[in-house]
Assembly symmetry: none
Homo-oligomer: 218 residues x 2
DNA sequence: TTTCCTATACGACATTTGACGTATTTGCAA
DNA sequence: TTGCAAATACGTCAAATGTCGTATAGGAAA
């Protein structure tokens, strides 16, 4: 018995959606649950039904593009696999898509069989990739230069003391231990952390540490 | 008319060389120019004849291993494509091979057709990669931290389900949300996390996520 | 076949965390 | 000098987390 693969297609071009649907129509175990015309449309629809295995995502879309949408989807529903399916294969898009958490990156001209195998591979814990894309990822790995630069970071200002606390927090220490290390009362540590959360607009340790790392605060 | 692909196989195990030769024997346009038993053997032979299209390179070999050999080959003969063909798929080897300039990375258990297509793709300016390898390169790209601080990672074995849960955990989701996403009871999520903690020998989310990232489990 | 592991699930309990309000001291800048 | 931000600190409460025990079903391994 084969498991049905619940699939979603996101593309602002209805002709291309049709084309993808036709490519997948050969395979009985692929079921298109729904389609969306841009990222925000996808988010709306998926909030009602996140029982989805894989999303085939275009990049260039109005309102909310595929990379932004991927970031949100992977954050909220990490179990859903996202495969970028696009005509663009420039380094920026590839790298940003990977950073956003994409599980694969294929070009739209892909053969039906290759697309299908890519979906299967991805669901089996691999990653789907065009050979040309694969080469670009190798190059990116060799030149980690481009990895850091750019990105307009919001200017988040934490006090030196708050950074101290955050640093400790990032090591997985609890309030008591942090207090001991910094010669503070646990109550103070809690207050610092409360203030940090407010400034970073997060609600728990993990998010705080992640956001801090992303903004090079620690 | 098809162009003949001049191929070299490098492996210290003659049985495996034979196996690879047999896999490629189905394809008329593949011509095995010669084989070598280790990196230095390869260098000797290739200095007499570098009219070669592609080298299938084992990693674990005496005298001069596949990664060192790749580095030298790519420096001296950049036009020759090198595809790693090995049983090892640990991060170190993958990353080092890529750094050394490998154009592809396949596992030895590869299907004949996949191997052949990998060679073709590579010669056409792409990169050959197993889906599982592809995923590892993506993870390496997302976590450029681990590129430096390798060292023999302890072998931690988590079940696929546990990795699912850990992935969700790493996004900062709470038990309830993880349960919803994975269609589980929160109690089960808690139990999974409990088991994860035991295996990773940690005692909270943050430590678990950090250790998991360090070991490229997520 | 039996055994072991995995995935699933529930309950209970103590601890930790996150959110809120409040308050005192200190040092720097307006 | 005044005022304000930062650092310090306490208390309370609800929610989330970490730890323990237990249990069942299914599948893989021995």
């Amino acid at each position: 018995m084969q498991k049905i693969i619940k699939t979603v297609i996101v593309d602002d071009n209805t002709f291309l959606i049709k084309a993808i649907q036709e490519k997948l129509s050969f395979f009985d175990d692929i079921q298109i649950k729904f389609t969306a015309l841009d990222g925000s449309d996808l988010l709306t629809k998926i909030s009602n039904n996140h029982n989805i295995d894989v999303i085939l995502m275009d990049i260039d879309m109005p309102i909310l593009n595929g990379i932004e949408a991927t970031e949100i989807i992977k954050k909220k529903y990490p179990h859903i696999k996202v495969i970028m399916l696009t005509v663009f294969d420039n380094d920026e898009n590839i790298f940003n898509a990977i950073k956003a958490g994409a599980d694969g990156y294929l070009l739209k001209e892909v053969e039906p069989k290759t697309l299908y195998e890519g979906i299967i591979d991805t669901l089996n814990g691999g990653a789907a990739m065009n050979p040309s894309i694969a080469l670009k990822t190798l190059k990116l790995l060799r030149n980690p230069i481009d990895l850091d630069n750019k990105k307009e970071e919001e200017i988040i200002k934490l006090s030196a003391r708050e950074i101290d606390v955050l640093e400790q927090l990032s090591k997985g220490l609890n309030y008591i231990n942090i207090a001991e290390n910094l010669f503070l009362s646990p109550a103070t540590v809690r207050k610092h952390i409360e203030n940090i959360y407010t400034k970073l607009q997060v609600h728990n340790k993990l998010e705080a540490v992640q956001k801090a790392k992303k903004n090079n605060l620690i």
